[in-house]
Point group: C2
Chain length 579, copies 2
C-alpha cells in the first residue's frame, strides 16, 4: 500500500509514468460514459479519468463523494485545448481503482468553506479539516513548530516541560481547577502560563529554556479567545533586554523564511509605549500603513474653540475625502472607545469647511502645513486627557484602515517592538498602584530610585511587546533577580512582606538561593499563526477548538458526570437553591 | 554581559586567552592567601584562582557557595604536577570578578545527589536541578525532542495539538475532571491520550500526525507513576503494520544516534506475544541477556513427580550456582508472582542433588543435555497453567539478572518488537470478553472470521509493543477503519450498538464519513528517557514531578481553594458526614 507521491508532489517528470495515488473523492462526474473523479489528498487535487472499457471501471463506478480510494494510472498532460497552466493541466488515466472505504454523504459541502455555519463545521470538525484551507493552516503551524525547535536547539536552548497540574500563578485571570482524589477537598490549578517555573529553571542553572506550552485561563470568552491556548515560552539567563530582542528577531525571521518564504527586514523597528500611543493611539499599532497623529495641542491652547483650548491633548489624523455617513460611522467608533465625539474638518482649497471649521480660522494655515491634508480630504480630531484622546483616535485610525484598505500598498507583514512600558499602573478609583506586566518584571535600572516616591508612575519597565500587523503576538520582560528590588516592587503595589510570602512563598524562597540575571518572552502562538496564514480567527488555526461557550461541539464537552465520580474527589454539585 | 563560552565548551585553543565565564560558585577554598573557586554552569566546572594582589580579590572574597558570578581571567594549563588529563587540567587566573547575586546556604549539599532524602530534593527542586546529573537528563530529553521533531517533519508528519479540555477517552483509567464555570455542573476531562483525536485527524486527511502529548490518568500512584506524563504520539494513514514498525525503527535509531551517539542495530528483532511469554515469561522481556526457558512439559508428563506429571506447562531456567539463601529469595519472588513454590536441582557431576532430585532420576540425562547446566549450577522450575507458570519464572529470571548482573556482558541497549497480541481477553470471573489493547485495534485480517465463534480468543491483534531493556517504551496498533469490523468488535466484547453509540458516539459517526486505513503508536516518553539516561525513576527525568501522593512539594499543590471559587463552578466540598 504505497503511494508514488502526494498529489501535490507530482511533477512533469511523472508524465507518461504509472503512478499510485491515495485519497478522497472530492467530486465525481459522469460524462459520455466516462467517469471523471477529482481525487484529493492533503497536498492537492488531480483529475482522474476512467474509461468505460477500463478494468478499473467497475470499482470506480462504486465511488461517491468522500469515498477513500487508491488509484493507479498513467499521469499525462490533458489535451491541448484543456490546458490552463499549472497542476490542473495534468490528469490520470486510471488502470486500477481500489475502494478503500465508503462514506456517508457529508452534512455540508466542503467547498463552501467558511460560509457554512460555524456550529456545523465544529460539530463535524473532521470533515471541516479536510478543506485545503484548514490543512494549509495546520501544515504551516507544524512547520513553524519544527523551525522554532531546530533554531532554538541550535542556539543552546533546552526544551523543558513544566507542570500541568499546579498551583495558581500570578497572571491574575481565573484558574481552571482540577479536584484531587488522593487529597479530597484539595485542587490543582491548570497553569495560566509557565512564568514561575521558567524563572525557577533559570534559578536551577538551565540557562536557556523554551517550550510550546499549553496555558489555561477561565475567562469569559470573547470573540477570539479560547480557554486553552499555546505559548512559545522562553527564558534566558545572563542577558539584557537587547539580547532577548536580537535573538527573537532572528528566530521570527527564521520562522517566516522557513514557512512562508518571506524575509522580514532586520532589525525590527522599536517604539516606546509613549510613542506608540502618542502617534498611533495603540500599544500594538498596525504599522503596515503610517497615518500617524499630528499633535496640535499647543496650536489650539487658549484659543477660541473651548473644547480644544483647555484640553490636555489634541491630536489630528489625516483621512481621505469622507462622506457624511462615513464620518458618522467613525464618530460612533470614537465614542465606543471613550470619546465624547469626533471633531472634523474638510479641506476646500486653502481653507476648511464643515465640522468645526468656524472655530479654526486662526489655525488654518498651520493645520494645512502640518497635516498636509489633500484638497477634499478630512481632518479628524480627538481631544481630552492624553490616554483617552489618543486611544479613541487610534480606534478611528483602524476603522479608516478597513474602510479604505490602507494596508494595500504596504508590506504584507510589519513587525515592531513596543517597549518602555510603565512599571506601575495607578487605579484612580481605588487609589492604589498595581503592576502593568506582572510583579516580577524588572524596572529600568535608572528608575529604581523612584520606587516609593510620588514619581513612581514614571518608572519604566524593562518590558517589551512584539507587534505584528497590529496584533500583540508576544510579550516579555527582564525579570527582577535581586530580592531587595523584588521587595521594593511588592512595597510599591502595597504588599506587606507577609502578603508577598503568602502569595508567592516558594518562589520568593527560591529567589534567595542564587538567582542569575534573566529575562524572557512568550509568543501567543495561535495568534501568530492566525496572522501568518491570514486566517480570520484563532479557531481557524486550532484543530479542535471550543466555541465561545467553551464547548467542544464535536466531542460534546463539557458534560455532566456521575455523582459517584464526584464523590471520589469529595465534591457535589450545588443544589440550585444553594447557588 | 557576554560569556566567551559555556565552561564545557572551553578547549585548548582558549589557553592563554582572556575568557569570561558566568555561573555558580560550586565550592570556595582559601589556601595560602589565595582563593580557589569551582565555577559551575550547566556544561561543567572549572577551577578559578584569585591571587591576593589581584584586582579581582575584593569581589572574589565576597563569594560563597551558590553565589552567582561573572569571572574574567586567563585560561591556562595547571602546573605540570597537577594535571590528570581532561578538562580538570585547565584553570582560570581571575583578573575581574563580578558578584551577580548572593545566595543563602542551600538546605542540602548538592554534591550528595540522590543520597539526599527525595522529599527535600523535591521541595527545593530548583537546587536539585543544579546537579550535573539532572542537567544531563533534561538536556538529553530536550535533544531527543529536537531529533524527533526534525525527523518527523522531514518525513512529512504534521504536528497537531489536540484538546486538553475534553471528554473521556476509552483508556479505561480514571479521568481527572475540570469543572466548567460557563456550564456549571458540567465537567471537562483531561485527556488520557489523544487516541480518538489522532484517529479523527486521519479521518480528516491529515495523513501523518505526531505530537508530544501530555496525558493524564488519575490512578493510585505506584512507585514510578506520575498523574501526568508525556507521550510521543503518532498516527499514519494508508499504512500497514510493517510501515509503522519500519518508520519507528528509523526514528528511534535516529534519536539514539543524535543524543547518545549509539547505533541501534536494524531491523529490531520481533517476537510474538506467545514467544516472549513462553521463552522469557514477560511481554516486555529484557533481552540484553538470553536465559530463555526450556520447555520440559513433555519430559515430565505422566512421570513419577506428581506436581509436574499433569501440569499444563513445565518450564526450566538455568541459573549459576546458588546458595540456599538465594534459592529461598528466588522462591519468594516466584510466590509473589503467583507460583506455589520454586522447584530446583543442583548439578553435581553427571547427576542432580537437592530440591526435587529424588523425583527426576529418569529425566537426568535429558535435562543435562537440554539445559546445558554447568557443574554446580542450578535448574529452576515452574509448573502449572501456561501463563501463570511462565510469568512466575519470568520474574525469577529478572531477579537472577539483578543478583548476578547478567546484563554486564550484553549490549547497553536492546530493543525489540513484541507483536501478535491476542485481540480479546477472557475474564473467567465475570465470564466476559474484553479488549486487550483498546476497542479500536484492528484484528489480523486472516482472523476476522473468528469473531463471535468459540475460537475468538485466538484472534490476533495487529498490535505491537516497543520493548527496550525490559521496559515497554511504546505501544500501538493498526486501527479498525471498517465500520462493520468495528461493529463486530463491539459485539465480541458484549456492547450493543446502542451502548457503542452511547460510549463512543461522535467517533462512531466520524468513522462512517470516509476513514482511510490507518495505524500508529505512542511512546512512553518519560520512561524512554529514563532508560536512555540510566536514571532510577521517571521522576529523575521530569523537571518538576509529583511525589507518590500526587503532590508538588515545592509549589504545594494540590491545595484547598476558597468556597467562593468553588461556588463559581457550581460545586461544594462534601461535608465529612456525607462522604
Amino acid at each position: 500500500m504505497k503511494r508514488t507521491a502526494y498529489i501535490g508532489q507530482l511533477t512533469e517528470s511523472h508524465v507518461g509514468q504509472t503512478v499510485t495515488l491515495q485519497g478522497w473523492v472530492n467530486r465525481r462526474r459522469d460524462l459520455g460514459g466516462l467517469i471523471f473523479l477529482k481525487l484529493r489528498d492533503r497536498s492537492g487535487l488531480v483529475q482522474v479519468q476512467v474509461e468505460p472499457d477500463s478494468p478499473a471501471f467497475p470499482q470506480a463506478d462504486q465511488l461517491r463523494a468522500e469515498y477513500v480510494a487508491e488509484i493507479e494510472g498513467t499521469y499525462q498532460l490533458r489535451p491541448e485545448g484543456q490546458r490552463k497552466g499549472g497542476l490542473a493541466d495534468f490528469e490520470v488515466i486510471a488502470s486500477r481503482v481500489r475502494v478503500l472505504n465508503t462514506a456517508k454523504t457529508p452534512p455540508f459541502e466542503l467547498d463552501k468553506g467558511e460560509s457554512v455555519a460555524e456550529d456545523i463545521r465544529l460539530k463535524y470538525r473532521y470533515l471541516d479539516l479536510r478543506r485545503p484551507e484548514m490543512q494549509r493552516h495546520l501544515l504551516l503551524r507544524s512547520k513553524a513548530v519544527a523551525a522554532i525547535t531546530a533554531f532554538l536547539d541550535t542556539e543552546g536552548f533546552v526544551q523543558v516541560e513544566t507542570p500541568m497540574l499546579t498551583k495558581s500563578t500570578p497572571e491574575g485571570a481565573r484558574d481552571f481547577l482540577v479536584p484531587s482524589r488522593l487529597n479530597p477537598g484539595e485542587f490543582y490549578a491548570l497553569p495560566q502560563s509557565p512564568q514561575l517555573f521558567k524563572q525557577l529553571l533559570m534559578i536551577s542553572g538551565m540557562d536557556r529554556y523554551y517550550q510550546l506550552a499549553r496555558c489555561f485561563r477561565d475567562e469569559d470568552l470573547r470573540a477570539d479567545r479560547q480557554p486553552d491556548f499555546t505559548q512559545l515560552d522562553m527564558e534566558l539567563s545572563f542577558v539584557e533586554q537587547d539580547d532577548v530582542l536580537e535573538l527573537n528577531e532572528r528566530l521570527l525571521s527564521h520562522v517566516f523564511r522557513e514557512t512562508l518564504g518571506v524575509e522580514l527586514p532586520l532589525p525590527f523597528p522599536r517604539l516606546s509605549y509613549f510613542e506608540a500611543m502618542d502617534q498611533y493611539g495603540s500599544d500594538k499599532p498596525d504599522l503596515r500603513f503610517d497615518s500617524a497623529f499630528e499633535d496640535v495641542t499647543g496650536l489650539f491652547r487658549g484659543g477660541e474653540f473651548a473644547a480644544f483650548a483647555s484640553a490636555g491633548c489634541v491630536k489630528v489624523l489625516v483621512a481621505p475625502e469622507l462622506t457624511r455617513r462615513q464620518i458618522d460611522e467613525l464618530e460612533r467608533v470614537a465614542k465606543q472607545n471613550g470619546a465624547r465625539g469626533l471633531a472634523w474638518l474638510r479641506r476646500e482649497g486653502e481653507g476648511f469647511t464643515g465640522g468645526i471649521s468656524k472655530f479654526v480660522g486662526a489655525q488654518t494655515a498651520e493645520l494645512l502645513a502640518r497635516t498636509g491634508v489633500q484638497d477634499g480630504g478630512t481632518l479628524l480630531f480627538s481631544a481630552g486627557e492624553w490616554k483617552g484622546a489618543v486611544s479613541a483616535l487610534g480606534a478611528v485610525r483602524l476603522a479608516l484602515r478597513d474602510l479604505f484598505d490602507l494596508t494595500a500598498g504596504g508590506p504584507r507583514f510589519h513587525v515592531a517592538w513596543v517597549m518602555e512600558f510603565p512599571q506601575l499602573d495607578f487605579d484612580p478609583e481605588s487609589g492604589t498602584w498595581t503592576y502593568m506586566h506582572h510583579p516580577f518584571t524588572a524596572p529600568h535600572p535608572d528608575d529604581v530610585a523612584l520606587f516609593g516616591t510620588e514619581r513612581q508612575g514614571e518608572i519604566r519597565a524593562q518590558a517589551y511587546d512584539l507587534v505584528l500587523n497590529g496584533f500583540e503576538v508576544g510579550g516579555g520582560s527582564i525579570r527582577i533577580h535581586d530580592p531587595q528590588v523584588q521587595a521594593q516592587m511588592f512595597g510599591a503595589i502595597g504588599f506587606t512582606p507577609e502578603q508577598a510570602q503568602d502569595k508567592f512563598g516558594f518562589f520568593m524562597d527560591a529567589l534567595a538561593y542564587g538567582t542569575p540575571p534573566h529575562g524572557g518572552i512568550a509568543w501567543g502562538f495561535d495568534r501568530l499563526i492566525m496572522v501568518m496564514t491570514g486566517a480570520s480567527s484563532i479557531r481557524e488555526v486550532i484543530a479542535f477548538p471550543k466555541n465561545n461557550r467553551g464547548a467542544d461541539l464535536m466531542a460534546l464537552a463539557p458534560s455532566p458526570v456521575e455523582a459517584a465520580q464526584l464523590g471520589e474527589v469529595g465534591l457535589q454539585v450545588q443544589t440550585p437553591e444553594r447557588v
